[in-house]
Symmetry: C2
Subunit: 475 residues, 2 copies
């Protein structure tokens, strides 16, 4: 490491703040934190700071502000868009929230839980369950992703259709500002109209306006009943029609409604050990419907059967497998959750995390699939995801015979192709993964003008020195 | 009106933008807009601007920015805290959104409705109902309050416990910024993580950062069943225990859970024609529970009876009246909704719109009532409101024999008394009414330091000339 990254001044000062366990500087120790897990980006850093308290975060940030050191906040480092990766520049520190992982308080009368930013999502779910409640946020990276990062990126996942995004699951925040000041907004209130809703600004700001150090999360009653089915449907439109049937039958019961294509399901069958299709083979469209209720005797199994029967009579469902046990339920969910891994094993793929109004999901899938195959003959569209909230991962798998590098060289064409359709449909180029580093160059075209100018004015107002997670979100 | 308020320059320019129907300048025409409906404040204005489109709003704001004219956005003018009243200063215009009252689009597949800021809430509810859906926001002023004002103040109301505040019912906004620029954020997306969540900044900013001109609102399936009861309970703690029983039995069914005191109910009986108590007389604490479900055969009546029976056995409910018809349901709700009117007829009163964590509501009511009676002997505490979301209107009615002016002279002592307890309990001095002009002087004590500084930095960044609704929200 060059000397300019090791000037003893700031490192000693960080050491005084954090103690010997609170800072890593050896290259080998820093290694796992310098690149994103997808391998898209790699940067450098003079140190990894590991504060154990809000006071330590504040003192570190204050020092950075004084010395003009930029800060990359990092949680589980599971960003899909390079949101927590340092740049290839000097004078940077990574600030990991991993040691701030306590549950400060849980209250089942208020149905709230106050937790620190470094708490891993799976652990948060477990603590809630241990108290007979539910913390409903659920997504692929839940074994690594931390609450601070999930809030900073306003994570979505499988249960948005019922419970909303991370934003809706948050009542209050504690935030360290770019000057080291601390906002103590850990209020456990459902109603509080006392000035600007700063907490909603930090949620989704991807660490560019400050560092979330703790949050008050909402809890819900645990499910007393669930019912899950995998359905083969004749078309994208039929999938949407089925969603509308379930929503009309019992809106509050639809916890997840996921779409998968025949191609995607084929990749899972071919590449994932032990994956078995519980319906007849050969269908082109699938839906996973997951119902839950917190009331006794909700009769979800009956509801599921009735809705599916009516949909079959209407020709909207061709075949269906209802989970008869928790094991079967897990097996059905596995078919959905292994989509990314199956894609990875099948070769190179380009990901498009896009959203459109729910009514436009069939058109999005149909048009994008057709255009993508025209763009790259032999490529395989693998649309899957959260139909119930309009968020489809409109991914494309390489043609089997094409060299991966040749395919990946077309990544921007592929993204442009999908995004042109998304834009026509009034959608978004980043539904749940955020902007990070990967998509900053799209902000001007999609959010330019008054909207982007307002964002930049806010960034300049709160972080005038530009030390918080530079190069992310804003172009 | 003095000449300086009638300089022909800007008025002619406004006239050119708005046409003859778009501007009022005669004193008699302006009269209804210069004071708040509670009669707390009164200001002046050179004109009432009545734009009919977003372009007209933008042109007016641009002109104001150029000429240094301050703008008071006004919807239904139903603020409880003087949030839409001009100051007693020259060079001001009131900008009414009343003519922008169209429903631009309604989509029952997406379950969204795009409406303009001047649409009255009751009308929005009606349009939703005409399409077989529900727009759940519901509050006393719904016959006058407009969508733009409801969002600008993040209105709460009766259904927050189930559907959240106005904020949670909004997916996208169109906003005219203080320089006249327009943010077109009317996206109908459940997931969209593309930069800072500006829409959440404008919601609750009370018109100090820009003017909301249109919004995408969320719709829900209409209720297929309801069940409503008025219960007499032995204590505040019993009221909370009953809430927890209902939430445990069927969380999604509790649409409203309202607390009322024996004193408040007595004021309604004494002052409101036709009000009758459907339970035995003499109780000190009441709860209105309102259940609804969008599924067929939800069995809410059974649920209501079962929960109340168990609560009676546990001594948590002393008497209960279940609505047997829509008329009875309306009569029960009327007892709750006439509380403000009954208070008004009974004499002078001081209002405290406060919130605490739900678990602390009993302590809030008990301690505040005791302290208030100590502070002003003979005064009558009238706590009522949204127990299910922690928001209690901790109001105080004057002693019958005391001159109203003497009582009102103690208003600040009364508010301080309640707020000291609220603060100890981790609550908020303004739950759903906002800060407006009435409570700006509390911001420093409650949100001072890093939080208020960040708010002020954002205000300065977005409205550097300070022309948007000056004197509101920030001290």
């Amino acid at each position: 490491m060059p000397d300019d990254l090791r000037s003893p001044g700031p490192l000693d000062a960080f050491r005084r703040i954090l103690g010997p366990n609170g800072i890593l500087t050896a290259e080998s120790d820093l290694e796992p934190y310098l690149a994103d897990w997808r391998g898209l980006y790699r940067g450098r850093a003079m140190a990894l700071l590991r504060p154990a308290s809000t006071e330590e975060v504040s003192a570190c940030v204050r020092l950075c502000a004084e010395q003009g050191i930029t800060i990359i906040p990092q949680g589980g480092n599971t960003s899909m868009v390079g949101g927590a990766t340092p740049e290839a520049k000097p004078n940077q520190v990574i600030l990991s929230l991993a040691r701030m992982n306590r549950v400060r308080e849980i209250d089942t009368a208020d149905m709230t839980m106050t937790v620190e930013a470094g708490l891993i999502l799976q652990k948060a779910q477990q603590v809630a369950a241990d108290h007979g409640t539910l913390f409903p946020l659920s997504l692929g990276a839940e074994g690594s992703a931390m609450i601070g990062g999930l809030l900073s990126t306003n994570a979505g996942g499988n249960t948005t259709v019922r419970y909303g995004n991370a934003r809706e699951l948050m009542l209050g925040l504690e935030v360290v500002l770019p000057d080291g000041g601390v906002i103590n907004g850990l209020r456990r209130l459902r109603k509080d109209n006392t000035g600007y809703a700063l907490r909603h600004l930090f949620v989704g700001a991807e660490g560019t306006l400050g560092i979330i150090t703790a949050a008050v999360l909402r809890l819900f009653p645990a499910a007393k009943e669930t019912a899950t089915a995998l359905c083969a449907v004749p078309s994208e439109d039929a999938a949407l029609a089925l969603f509308r049937r379930f929503r009309a039958a019992d809106e509050g019961a639809v916890r997840a409604f996921e779409y998968m294509s025949g191609i995607g399901m084929g990749l899972v069958m071919d590449n994932i050990e032990g994956a078995t299709l519980p319906v007849a083979p050969g269908f082109e469209h699938f839906v996973l419907v997951d119902l839950s209720a917190s009331r006794e005797g909700a009769g979800l199994r009956n509801l599921l059967e009735q809705v599916l029967e009516a949909a079959m009579e209407a020709g909207e469902v061709l075949d269906a497998a209802l989970a008869e046990s928790e094991a079967q339920r897990a097996a059905i969910w596995r078919l959905r959750e292994e989509h990314p891994e199956a894609q990875k094993r099948a070769g190179a793929s380009v990901k498009n995390d896009v959203s459109v109004p729910v009514s436009s999901v069939p058109e999005l899938i149909r048009r994008s699939s057709a255009e993508l195959v025209k763009l790259i003959p032999g490529s395989r569209p693998v649309p899957f995801g959260h139909m119930g909230d309009g968020n489809i991962h409109m991914n494309l798998e390489q043609p089997p015979e094409m060299p991966a590098a040749d395919f990946l060289a077309r990544a921007h064409d592929i993204m442009d192709c999908v995004n042109a359709i998304v834009r026509e449909l009034g959608g978004s180029f980043s539904a749940e993964h955020g902007v990070g580093r990967l998509k900053t160059d799209m902000m001007e075209a999609w959010r330019g003008g008054a909207e982007l100018a307002a964002m930049q004015a806010i960034k300049a107002a709160l972080d005038p020195k530009g030390i918080m997670n530079p190069g992310k979100v804003l172009p």
